[in-house]
């Protein structure tokens, strides 16, 4: 096996059994934090390259402080003045966390569990080697999602491609603070899922309406192959329909405000009554109200007025107020699963301008229906032609996931999300959760996402939640979180072979989640018609205005 020239020399074992240290002069500053290095060792009679990640760097030989007394005088010139004119100035002790050698059969890293020999040369891992061992996928291949390039190398040098099978079976989380590019990364991921080599069936719950630019995918040549071009369907808040009879008792209880114990009880009875009388998923709001009347305590006769009963009256009033007013909850129409899911189609459900609780119910209803449909389809209970026949796996991406599975509150969507996270793998339903506040996200939910994309996080509460929930992120990577720049992401978990820091690739479609440029828009108002319109539209003064001695206007 031929090696390049070494970058350093092994000093000895590190503090923990899977660490070692090496000494490097590193005049070109190639040994960055997070850089991958390797040493050669014989394992079971075969020479292997034992890969590791640089996690620490401290100087062991640096110029004395007093040489730096004058900022205009570099310390090396002072040393040269005294007779030390060598180029070898600084020495660093580099700490490396051992990943191991890549086992082609296991498709994973195997730690040799023996520290390297002191004095063994350490090499910077070549781009080609990293490309083949870091990612589980390959750029542009089926089942791969190329999301960016390794941060410690040049652009395009080491492309990192996630294994789509990994995160579409064991779920994904994108965690980042505002403005660090999480929606951009989600856009990249969606683009990859809709590429001809993946052709996924994706649902996007978009509470801010920032994913509509994905429609451009339909017209871009990158996404076409033969007859295939991805479909993008957008459901705007006005297009959303949830049939009232598809709501569960839990949904109803959640949607109706301030229910008393008695109302809870009566609603439960009414719900069962409605299902029994008109059939599951086959009743209207009016029929539900009728069921409330029918199940009232102390019912005396059909001709009597029951709305005098305060509980019945209050329940009926609440049903009308919550479900009767808007367009979304509807007696007959529903978003059919066949409209929402198709391989090669991304469906964007925009929930901007929708009340928070309604958002949660809509998301819960959609997730529950698709999960149930997949269970029924897999178990053979649903067949072609049935409304809940979904014969392919689906991936659902939830923006602002902390709204759907909050940490310290009860949301109607939490339960179905937890069910999908724990059971969805068997039935081909997976979710991608995007959140800027992991601290507000239910820790069970976060820890069930086996692929994590973590971007800049400065809030210590959020950092702690990540440390608690994401086992595969080491202490060294957590320390990197506050210093990540926009578009830089740590990817860890089931879709990569080892945690990697990368720079997200450029999107093919435009980014829809950009902030509004207020100063620019204000300036345009003056340049455009705004000022003239304001003058033209100004009301005529009805009375002559005078000024007093202070210069103030008065009528």
């Amino acid at each position: 096996m031929t090696h390049q020239t070494g970058i350093g020399t092994v000093k000895g074992p590190g503090e923990t059994p899977h660490e070692y240290t090496f000494i490097a002069p590193d005049p070109e500053r190639r040994v960055k934090h997070g850089e991958f290095v390797y040493y050669a060792a014989v394992v079971d009679g075969v020479e292997k390259e034992i890969l590791g990640r640089v996690t620490g760097r401290e100087p062991v030989r640096i110029f004395p402080d007093s040489f730096m007394a004058d900022p205009a005088v570099p310390p090396d010139t002072v040393a040269a003045l005294l007779g030390y004119d060598s180029d070898a100035r600084e020495l660093f002790q580099i700490t490396v966390t051992v990943l191991g050698f890549y086992d082609e059969i296991l498709k994973d890293f195997v730690n040799p569990r023996v520290p390297p020999a002191g004095g063994a040369p350490v090499f910077i891992a070549e781009d080609k080697m990293l490309t083949s061992v870091l990612s589980r996928g390959r750029k542009g291949e089926r089942g791969s999602a190329y999301i960016g390039d390794l941060l410690s190398r040049g652009p395009g040098a080491v492309p990192v491609a996630l294994n789509v099978k990994g995160f579409t079976s064991t779920h994904l989380a994108i965690i980042a603070s505002t403005g660090s590019g999480k929606s951009y990364l989600a856009g990249v991921l969606l683009e990859e899922l809709m590429m001809p080599y993946n052709r996924a069936a994706v649902l996007i719950i978009d509470p801010h309406g920032e994913y509509d630019t994905l429609q451009q995918m339909q017209n871009l040549p990158e996404f076409r192959e033969g007859n295939y071009k991805p479909g993008v369907r957008i459901f705007r808040p006005d297009d959303l329909r949830v049939r009232i009879s598809s709501l569960t008792l839990g949904d109803l209880r959640y949607l109706l405000p301030n229910l008393s114990e008695k109302m809870h009880y009566q609603l439960g009875r009414a719900y069962t009554f409605a299902q029994r009388t008109w059939g599951e998923d086959k009743y209207t709001l009016e029929q539900l109200k009728q069921a409330v009347r029918e199940t009232a305590e102390g019912k005396r006769g059909a001709e009597e007025e029951f709305e005098d009963d305060p509980t019945t009256g209050a329940l009926i009033w609440r049903l009308g107020a919550s479900l009767g007013g808007g367009k979304i909850f509807n007696d007959f129409e529903n978003l059919e699963l066949a409209e929402l899911f198709r391989p090669g189609m991304a469906t964007i459900v925009q929930l901007n301008e929708v009340d928070r609780r309604e958002q949660q119910v809509i998301a819960a209803t959609l997730l529950r229906r698709v999960y149930q449909a997949r269970v029924d389809t897999e178990k053979g209970k649903a067949s072609r032609g049935d409304r809940n026949f979904v014969p392919f796996p689906v991936f659902c991406l939830l923006e602002e996931a902390h709204n759907y599975a909050p940490a310290n509150a009860d949301a109607v969507s939490s339960e179905v999300l937890k069910t999908i996270l724990s059971e969805g793998r068997k039935f081909g339903v997976s979710v991608g959760l995007i959140s800027q506040r992991p601290g507000k996200l239910d820790s069970d939910v976060l820890s069930q996402c086996m692929t994590q994309c973590i971007m800049r996080i400065t809030n210590p509460i959020d950092q702690n939640r990540i440390a608690e929930s994401v086992e595969s992120v080491g202490r060294d990577l957590l320390m990197e979180l506050p210093s990540l720049s926009k578009g830089q992401v740590i990817v860890t978990g089931a879709s990569v072979n080892t945690p990697v820091m990368l720079k997200v690739r450029t999107r093919y479609t435009e980014h829809g989640g950009q902030d509004i440029d207020a100063p620019e828009l204000w300036r345009k108002w003056f340049e455009g018609k705004g000022l003239a319109e304001q003058r033209d539209g100004a009301l005529f003064a009805e009375k002559k205005l005078n000024r007093d001695e202070d210069g103030e206007l008065w009528a």
Binding site: R61, F63, P64, D65, S66, F67, V78, A79, L82, G83, Y84, S86, A88
Partner: protein, 201 residues
Amino acid sequence: MTTAIGKIVKSNTHIDYVCQVYGPGELVIQPLPTDYAFGEFVAIELSGNGGSSGALIGVIYNTLLLNPEFGSLGPRLSPRGEQEIFTPDYLSETATLVGIVALGWQEIGGSFRQGVPGLAADVDAPVRRLNDDELCAFHLDGAGRLSLRYASVLMGMNNPLVPQLLLTLIDRLVTLFPEQSRQLQVMRNNVAWKSIVQPAG
């Protein structure tokens, strides 16, 4: 060709000798100051039972000038020009002494070894300068590799001139062993950093 430098007149330790450089009139060819300069390698001939028993190999690490007249500020009976005629012995008391530290030895067969020699030199043992071939041979071990095993002996001397001596030796060796210059450079940088940069901080 070897150049005789002087003779051993004293020792401070088993490896630390003082050599008096031959003065005017003692040899046909007077040694030049460059022959007994700081950092020059020398051989101290050992005499055994009726013949040569090899030699100690050392390096010049110090120079002392001996001048009994120094401090005698009184009047002279005869001017210096006439002293050579009237009191030649008095003039021969001025001498140049060089300190030599023994770093190895040459066996009777001619092979060289580095380390503390078992044998010691006698008083009046002749000292000669080592030529480049001998210097190369002295620095190669049995396997033909460049060897500086004596460095620990030098660094243990607690002499302020030792770092500079090492730098001088390494610079000389770089010219003799260009293919080993990277190893020598590592050592040179190490010695230079510790002796030049660190003390200055």
